[in-house]
């Protein structure tokens, strides 16, 4: 029997769901090995039911997002976070240092319009157990394909766990940080994108979130030597992955 899967979007730009639909050459093959039970963006007739694997995009912004996520968790064997919003909170969480109320007032100029927002924007793992995470803004299609292939065969996927710098070196790019003094997040950002941006002479923006055991202190130090203030570095490092550790470096000037 084909595994029953669901693809869900919480609050998001739909980029990771689109990245799945963007597997133009592989989509029909994928459809032949999985049974998509829920994918609101691409199909009608979506029923709540037991799933083998749920892929969830987006961050948890509203209370309704939170309830939906808990429901998905309850119905699913494995829950896979797809995209940096789901894994780290993404751009919507970038101002988690600011009260939501302040942010609402900036936009609506009225307090009663709080809608249904939670006090902070959360990645999935703050609310439910996440079995596996595929980061990226958006996810790379090769990684979703290989992940689906592994999961279909009852295996957990193996994804890159090294920094963007590693792939950037392999591509023999000129180092934008060392040679060009640019604010590059490559040393502390999860690779797997083949260093797309530095290969276009654009410094890494950190869109895939932090690599495991990222040396944040050293990133502040190296960039500090290049003349970037702790505020500049912190702003870039929290664009896609808000982290109290980074904010502490900004505040405490731990350099």
């Amino acid at each position: 029997m084909r595994p029953r899967i669901g693809i869900f979007g919480l609050t998001s730009c739909a980029g990771d769901q689109l990245a799945i639909i963007n597997c133009e050459d592989e989509l029909l093959d994928i459809l032949s090995v999985v049974d998509i039970k829920s994918f609101v963006m691409a199909q009608s007739r979506n029923e709540g039911q037991k799933l083998d694997v749920a892929f969830v995009e987006g961050s948890v912004v509203t209370r309704e997002d939170e309830e939906r996520l808990k429901q998905i968790r309850k119905e699913s064997g494995l829950l896979v976070a797809i995209g940096t919003c789901a894994v780290w909170g993404g751009i919507p969480a970038s101002r988690n240092d600011l009260g939501r109320k302040e942010l609402y007032q900036k936009v609506y100029q009225k307090e009663e319009n709080l809608y249904d927002c939670r006090p902070r924007v959360s990645p999935l793992s703050e609310i439910v157990k996440v079995d596996f995470a595929i980061a990226g803004c958006p996810i790379e299609k090769e990684q979703i394909i290989s992940s689906v292939a592994s999961l279909v065969h009852g295996d957990l996927p193996l994804l890159p766990s090294y920094a963007v710098c590693f792939e950037c070196k392999l591509r023999e790019n000129v180092c934008l940080l060392k040679e060009k003094d640019q604010l590059c997040c490559g040393p502390v950002t999860l690779g797997g994108c083949e260093a797309r941006c530095p290969s276009h002479f654009v410094p890494c923006k950190g869109c895939r979130g932090p690599v495991q055991e990222a040396n944040i202190a050293s990133e502040f130090e190296i960039l500090g030597e290049k003349g970037y203030s702790p505020a500049d570095v912190a702003r870039m490092l929290t664009t896609f992955a808000y982290s109290s550790e980074v904010i502490a470096h900004r505040e405490g000037g731990k350099r």
Binding site: C13, D25, M41, Q43, N46, S94, C197, F201, C207
Partner: protein, 432 residues
Amino acid sequence: MTRKITVDEISRVEGHGKIQVEISDGKITELKLNIYEGPRFFEALAVGRMFDEIPVIMCRICAICSADHKITSIMALEDALGVNVSLQTQLLRELYYQGAIIESHALHLYFLALPDFLGFGSAAELVPQYPEEVKRGLKLKKLGNTIQELLAGRPIHGENPVIGGFSKIPTEEQLQHLKPLLKNALEDGEKTVLLFARLEYPEWIKISNIFYALEPWGEHYGYFGNKILSSRGDKIPVGSYPKLCNEMVVAHSTAKHSQGDETPFMVGALARINLFHEKLMPRAKKLVKNIGWNLPSQNILHNNLAQAIEIIDSLERASQIIDELLNRGLKTETLPAINVKKGRGVAATEAPRGTLYHEYELDENGVVVGANVITPTAQNLAHIERDLRIAVMNLMHLDEEQIRNRLEMVARAYDPCISCAAHLVELKVNRD
């Protein structure tokens, strides 16, 4: 007798929306298009950022319109900073937009809209009976993504377009490589037009409409311009957009609704085709004639057909842009120097779903102090609600399931981008 009809989650659209209708004694007592996509406060997130970080953030409002948010934010910042770009940059941006149009329209036509007309729930369900069509949709979509990936470095949220131009210029070989792909796709494009021309477009939705679109620069149909033309004949400079859009906070939706002079208007492919079909590329123009399409059309469901025609125009125009770039010879350009200064800038472009506005205000250090984004879907929401009302009035005799399906079909014809609409708006741009 009171009837309640609810579409809990509009499927096959980008984002989360809901339709609620209440009918009492044959009259509509309530009709709401609810947007319940969570608000992400993009404009508020922009405030406090350095100007050059803005395009990175704002393109993430929406993945399907990523190219459009990226370029429109860049152009608004260039306006604020007084940066002029080269003709080569302008041509590359146009080429990038053609890729975005092909991808977005192919996605909408084959994967979101077509199942409605053929009575299926998804493109996946279409496969056994209509394998050719689904494969054709995928092929066109892929070509759109190939163009976007070449120009932006990634099909979605590419970072290669920057203020002043493109960080890395594609090579002549890479552009040459696109030419046969574009040429071969024309056949698929024409089949798409014929497919959508053959579908039945019910008349219960036909009513007179007001259309708005950017008047294209130059002689061609296109997605860049400085003035908005309305189907009533008036022209409005892009800088006067707040008067036009008049965004309102509506309690039942996290997206704001736009109404020009209180009268709902429509933006998007149908608006563009209605206003500027005379400027279409030759093959696209000929197809309009061959299928016997009388323009302007007042049937909103024709937005699908308009998108199909735009795919042909984009395939032809992309090829023409490549020729122009190759004839001029591609140059490795250094990006123009930016003198950071206090200022305000506005830009509008035509995104696949209609006119998109970005405005930014910078302080003397280049820090963003105000931002405003008005998306096509936000402008269309009032119009969609109006059309849903008309649909309900004309379809009251049907059973609930049939009404539900048709309401979804109307909403979907607009190709609404609910993530875009629910980005929410910063009203703090000072206007003195």
